[in-house]
Amino acid sequence: MHEISLIRTVFNTLEAEFDAEELSRLQAVDLKVGLLSNVEPTLLQNAFAAVTQSEGKYETATLNIETVPVEVYCPVCDKNSPVKNYKFACSCGRPSSDVVSGTELLIHRIHFAEPAAVRST
């Protein structure tokens, strides 16, 4: 959809959470992207490369994208089932639109290099 602005949001989010020294050691960001999020991983990687190069920061960092399948919850069976063929239903056959995964669009994990002070000890 709007992958460039999502990548900018990733960096804005990190800059709000961590200080410049910590971010200078940024190695990788892991995103979880649900299949219903309308976000295309390849385009997100391209956008990541474009933004880091054009802004000249985080150029050594990498982006890892985990796509998350769509699952719905069935209250009768008390379990989650994967959505197959765009049919939002439990494996028992009961329809359910209680989507428990697949809409994610979140920073799941962030990797930093060890700070210099820690490395020397």
Partner: protein, 240 residues
């Protein structure tokens, strides 16, 4: 089933922040909650109307103003990439409409709605309708603080659309099948489109509509007035 896409450069991370929950649309969702709260305080029903471009959103809203503009105090925010054309059309039938020009952005975000609301006098308003940018993809992901999301699908679009754009139909409470006056000329089955939509969202309500012939417009207006009344009743219960 899970597939991890890694770039060619391997991370050598030694310090890791794990299982963070930094949602990338958190800023939008925060503003959407503020809108929801403000609408609750003022007892205003908020609708988000979505569809492909050209399915008849503006025409339906023109009919709505003509029919029930004297029974409910209605304001409209209408989003488009460029021009004031839709707001002009709505004003031409007596509607109180404000155009949000997104300047190329393919959807409305909560922040745009919040800012536009500053330009509206919401005193005594019963119903605020947001006509989203014509697009079945991106608007689906952006909560605008609405009570109900209503999605139009025109018979000219084909009856296979719900499963192509599952998130939109998953998040809508009502599907309006528009331009049903053209059914006799088109290979479009209302039964198929309803079955397709209910595979995704078993609870979705459906109305068939033709603004040209007048089909279903009364049912749509009744639905709107009923939802306005329900919102006011709910507010009265909270207040008492």
């Amino acid at each position: 089933m899970q597939k991890i896409q890694r770039s060619s450069k391997a991370a050598r991370g030694t310090v890791t922040c794990d299982n963070t929950t930094m949602h990338l649309l958190k800023a939008n969702d925060f503003v959407a909650e503020s809108i929801r709260k403000r609408m609750a305080e003022q007892n205003i029903l908020l609708l988000n109307i979505t569809s492909s471009a050209g399915s008849g959103k503006t025409t339906l809203l023109q009919e709505t103003i003509k029919r029930i503009g004297d029974q409910a105090n209605i304001k409209i925010l209408v989003g488009d990439l460029e021009t004031e054309r839709d707001a002009d059309r709505l004003r031409a039938v007596g509607g109180d409409a404000l155009q949000i020009v997104t300047g190329g952005i393919c959807h409305l975000e909560a922040q745009m709605v919040w800012q536009a609301m500053e330009g509206l006098n919401l005193d005594g308003v019963d119903l605020l309708i947001i006509e989203n940018v014509g697009n079945l993809v991106c608007p689906a992901s952006f909560d605008l603080g609405e009570d109900y999301r209503v999605t139009l699908i025109a018979t000219t679009e084909g009856d296979d659309k719900p499963k192509k754009y599952p998130r939109m139909f998953l998040t809508s409470e009502l599907m309006l099948v528009s331009k049903v006056d053209l059914l006799e000329y088109l290979p479009f089955s209302v039964d198929n489109v309803v079955a397709d939509a209910r595979d995704i969202n078993p609870d979705i309500d459906v109305l068939e509509l033709s603004t040209i012939k007048g089909t279903g417009v009364d049912a749509w207006c009744d639905w709107l007035l009923q939802k306005v009344a329900e919102k006011k009743e709910a507010a009265a219960v909270v207040a008492s």
